[in-house]
């Protein structure tokens, strides 16, 4: 509270602006400004902003051939832009009204095949011409000026004065001396910060509970079925062929880790068949079954070349040899595809003897421990 409060009504002082009021208005009276022409005013304002106009290349002479031609060009370009915009509207609105229907039809031809390209063509042309017209206008009809603006790397005065205010605030708060305040602030900040991110804990789920990564729906006696749910007998497949099979459980053909390749080997492949350790006897006659989920990045390994006994993953080109227990023989995969132990039930259909004995799919940190 000051003793000389000049606000109206307090001590009867007049309502006048303070000593810092005014700025450039103090330097230039309205009369002075009114005496200047538009260009002078423009330059004056620019100078206030640290800008100097070095050079002006005036636009074309009014009424000259050059100007008329430029105007014609810009006008033509913008008219065309408008025309194409209208054509876009016509195609968009008119299809299915006075133009043929735009919707997809089985022939994959006709108007429905043209609808989207026409929309793109007309909107693209229209907008490109709007932009082109603007550039033409700027280049051909506007005066070209070269301006130079000062650049400052900051002022010493500003730094010193701002610093004084900041340090003053810090000094007044006494945080340098009042250690308890600082420590409690740190505790408070840490606590409140932790508290606010805690609800994110709702996202955390224990991946080791129930071993979801290491198990699939396969189990002893679960039939191997095709995508349409039909079971498979030995002899259904030609030698050298591959079929993708799923466990005969509800939704088995949509499970991400259960897809399995049932392969009937050719006699010469059977002769060289060499199961991996722990996997002896998992085959059934000429049949072997491997997980279809690549051990590298989890894509389904789909391409089987029976002449070379190789299965190729199309994502990263890992190759597995089906006669060697689906060991990786080339590419980035490090582990063999897990093998499913096969058997045939009383009715003569393929079943699994158990789940996979190792985790299917990509490798992870503690995979070997589960």
């Amino acid at each position: 509270m000051t003793t000389h409060d000049t606000r109206p009504g307090s001590t009867g002082g007049a309502d006048v602006p303070g000593p810092l009021y005014g700025g450039p208005d103090d330097d230039y009276t309205p009369e002075q400004l009114a005496a200047m022409n538009r260009i002078e005013l423009d330059r004056l304002g620019a100078r206030y902003d640290g800008v100097e106009i070095l050079h002006v290349d005036p636009g074309p002479e009014p009424g000259s051939v050059l100007e008329k031609r430029a105007i014609r060009q810009v006008g033509l370009v913008w008219s065309l832009a408008g025309l194409f915009a209208f054509l876009f509207v016509v195609v968009y609105v008119g299809s299915g009204w006075f133009l043929p229907d735009w919707q997809w039809d089985i022939t994959e031809g006709g108007w429905s095949a043209l609808f989207t390209p026409l929309l793109g063509l007309f909107m693209g042309l229209s907008l490109l011409l709007v932009g082109y017209g603007l550039v033409l206008f700027t280049k051909k009809l506007l005066p070209h000026e070269t301006a130079v603006q000062d650049k400052h790397d900051g002022s010493h005065f500003d730094r010193v004065t701002a610093g004084a205010t900041l340090v003053g605030g810090y000094h007044n708060s006494g945080l340098g001396r009042r250690k308890l305040i600082v420590r409690s602030l740190a505790l408070m900040g840490g606590g409140v910060g932790l508290m606010l991110i805690m609800p994110l804990g709702g996202l955390i789920k224990n991946p080791n509970k129930g071993n979801p990564l290491g198990t699939t729906s396969w189990a002893a006696g679960v039939r191997l079925v095709r995508d349409d749910g039909t079971p498979i007998r030995p002899g259904d497949q030609e030698p050298g062929s591959l079929e993708t099979v799923f466990p005969a459980v509800p939704g088995g053909n949509r499970q991400a880790d259960a897809a399995t390749m049932l392969i009937r080997l050719r006699p010469e492949q059977v002769a060289v068949l060499e199961p991996r350790e722990r996997y002896e006897g998992f085959e059934y006659g000429e049949y072997v079954a491997y997980s279809k989920i690549c051990t590298h990045a989890g894509c389904p390994v789909s391409l089987y070349e029976q002449e070379t006994s190789r299965i190729l993953c199309p994502c990263h080109q890992s190759q597995f040899d089906v006669t060697q227990g689906a060991k990786p023989v080339f590419g980035p995969a490090t582990r063999a595809l897990p093998q499913l132990p096969l058997d045939v039930d009383d009715e003569g259909f393929f079943v699994a003897r158990s789940d996979y004995i190792e985790a299917v799919g990509p490798t992870y940190w503690n995979r070997e421990r589960i």
Binding site: W102, L128, T363
Partner: protein, 560 residues
């Protein structure tokens, strides 16, 4: 003091009065004048960042449109839309709505493709803009902060692209999602926890599309918007860099004022970018999801590839050798971890830290507002070329199956080409770029010293033929130019120094009098003919006997 109608300078027109009414309330005049007066340097390479900005605008607009129709749910539905081949097929609601958008929304396919093209352009423009900043040294003090923000923007743009790519839940995007899942799993120690946090359980679960959706349409765009705003604010605050040239210093910016020239050009560019995206969106098919079919974990098609900006990670994954690291206690660091998380992490960390590394090594702590020509900083340019070669080679490796297929090359051979190339090509690129930089530097100095080759061959009385050189400035008594190299392009042809008069305007017929132009040009001292009367053609500027020193010629006193 309130102005009265009779005060000098008071507005008399309706528009002027309205403007006064606005300014009396908002006080916008000082800000408006400062903004309109701001000078922008004029160079085509400064438009690259703008293209990214405008592509982002298009993405916001078209993306908002798409959200009106897209249903980010993994609920199983049976398709019953107008695309006959998929009718009756079970699929997720997300894929179903992507199909509805493509076939049953008028213009929906156009908007979807426009969005996809704009996304590709967005990332491409960011990358090219980044290269421009890098190779011209625009990241140096005081612009390190904006460099860091730029790198974060690039990473966010990639994440935004990946999440968007995964949304339609078609076979291709599902395969991509499967690989993302495997990459998460491959992280040592926390991999499975991270996977379960993101996917809410084992792959694929029922949450991931919904989660990616909110990340794609809200989280990342919001961060992008804030960071782009900050990027531009800092840019305006620090003012533009500029290439060295006449009158350009560390303490000024030479160019056009915002209003009207730069504003008109920038607006033109917005429309051009928008037009290009619209034309691509309508005319060039992209990601026809109805051909891929719904995602099925047991299916995949050959040549499954991500969008272009993820190619490099796909490539590194393809060529990385099968090296699992087995640790005691039966723990494993999967091979997949290195070419994805580690490579990407290292690349972006190196990128982000580059300004600080260069600052440390060169001990250059000064502020710089003048750009450098790449040739003048051969080490940086060569490092950049090396990194670029590495990146592009990984991209090529990301398409190795397509190359193998189209050119009938063994796939395994292509993998080995990728593996060997990624090790030996970057150093080669470094050396070659370094030599090119030095060569260009030398040529600049040579022209400054000896002048431009005019193509005029003279025969001396002794019978020797020499080529006349045009000095660029005053010469010393040996005929050598005295201009120093200033970091700006050196004219290399006679036309660059006004050796020919300008072309007569007009397309089919001249619209100005040729003789008039000739006179005007002579008045300005342009053109070969103007100098002809007082030109004394001598052999001065001819540097050496038997060619230039660089060609093995012997330096010799020029004869006058």
């Amino acid at each position: 003091m309130a102005r009265t109608a009779t005060a000098p300078g008071a507005p008399t027109t309706k528009l002027g009065k309205a403007a006064l009414e606005v300014d009396e309330r908002m006080i916008v005049a000082p800000w408006l004048r400062r903004t309109m007066n701001k000078v922008y340097p004029d160079h085509w390479s400064f438009l690259l960042g703008e293209i990214a900005l405008y592509a982002f605008l298009i993405l916001l607009l078209s993306g908002t449109y798409l959200t009106f129709f897209f249903d980010a749910s993994m609920r199983e539905v049976v398709y019953d839309g107008s695309y006959a081949p998929l009718r009756g097929v079970e699929m997720s609601a997300a894929y179903d709505s992507a199909l509805q958008l493509s076939f049953d929304v008028r213009g929906g396919l156009f908007m979807r493709q426009l969005h996809h093209w704009a996304a590709l352009l967005f990332v491409a423009a960011i990358v090219v803009h980044l290269l421009r900043i890098f190779f011209t040294g625009a990241f140096r003090k005081p612009r390190e902060t904006n460099w860091l923000i730029g790198v974060v923007l690039l990473v966010l743009a990639l994440l935004e692209g990946v999440t968007g790519y995964s949304l339609p839940d078609d076979l291709l995007s599902g395969t991509g999602l499967r690989i993302i899942s495997a990459i998460l799993l491959s992280i040592p120690v926390i991999g499975t926890w991270a996977h379960f946090a993101v996917f809410n359980g084992d792959f694929v679960g029922e949450q991931i599309i919904g989660r990616f959706y909110i990340v794609h349409v809200l989280l990342i765009p919001a961060i992008l918007l804030v960071l782009i705003g900050l990027h531009l604010l800092i840019l305006v605050k620090q003012k533009h860099t500029q290439f060295p040239g006449a009158g350009r210093t560390e303490h000024n910016v030479v160019g056009n004022r915002l209003f009207p020239t730069f504003a008109a050009k920038a607006t033109g560019l917005i429309f051009v970018v928008f037009g290009v995206c619209a034309a691509l969106g309508g005319l060039v098919q992209i990601n026809p999801v109805w051909l891929w079919g719904p995602y099925n974990p047991a299916q995949v098609s050959a040549a499954s590839q991500p969008d272009w900006y993820i190619f490099f990670l796909d490539g590194s994954t393809r060529i990385f050798p099968p090296w699992d690291i087995n640790l005691p206690g039966n723990y494993t660091i999967p091979a997949l971890f290195w070419p994805t998380v580690v490579i990407a992490g290292l690349m972006f960390t190196a990128l982000a830290l580059y300004p600080f590394i260069e600052r440390k090594l060169t001990k250059d702590t000064a502020s710089h507002h003048l750009l450098q020509r790449p040739r003048d900083v051969p080490v940086r340019t060569s490092l950049g070329a090396m990194a670029l070669t590495f990146y592009i080679w990984l991209m090529v490796a990301g398409a190795n199956d397509v190359v193998a297929d189209k050119f009938d090359i063994s796939l395994n051979a292509m993998t080995w080409v990728g593996r060997i190339g990624v090790i030996i090509l970057p150093p080669i690129a470094y050396v070659v770029t370094y030599r090119i930089c030095l060569g260009l530097q030398q040529h600049d100095r040579e022209v400054l010293e000896h002048g431009i080759e005019t193509g005029v061959i003279r025969r001396l009385p002794s019978g020797e033929f020499i080529e006349v050189h045009q000095p660029l400035g005053p010469v010393d008594e040996h005929g050598h130019g005295q201009l120093a190299y200033g970091g700006a392009p050196v004219p290399k042809r006679m036309n660059h120094v006004g050796g020919a008069r300008r072309a007569i305007r007009g397309f089919f017929t001249p619209i100005e009098e040729p003789s008039q132009v000739e006179l005007e040009q002579r008045a300005e001292g342009r053109g070969l003919a103007t100098g002809e009367p007082d030109r004394e053609l001598t052999s001065s500027g001819r540097p050496a006997d038997g060619g230039r020193p660089s060609e093995g010629g012997r330096p010799q006193e020029p004869r006058d």
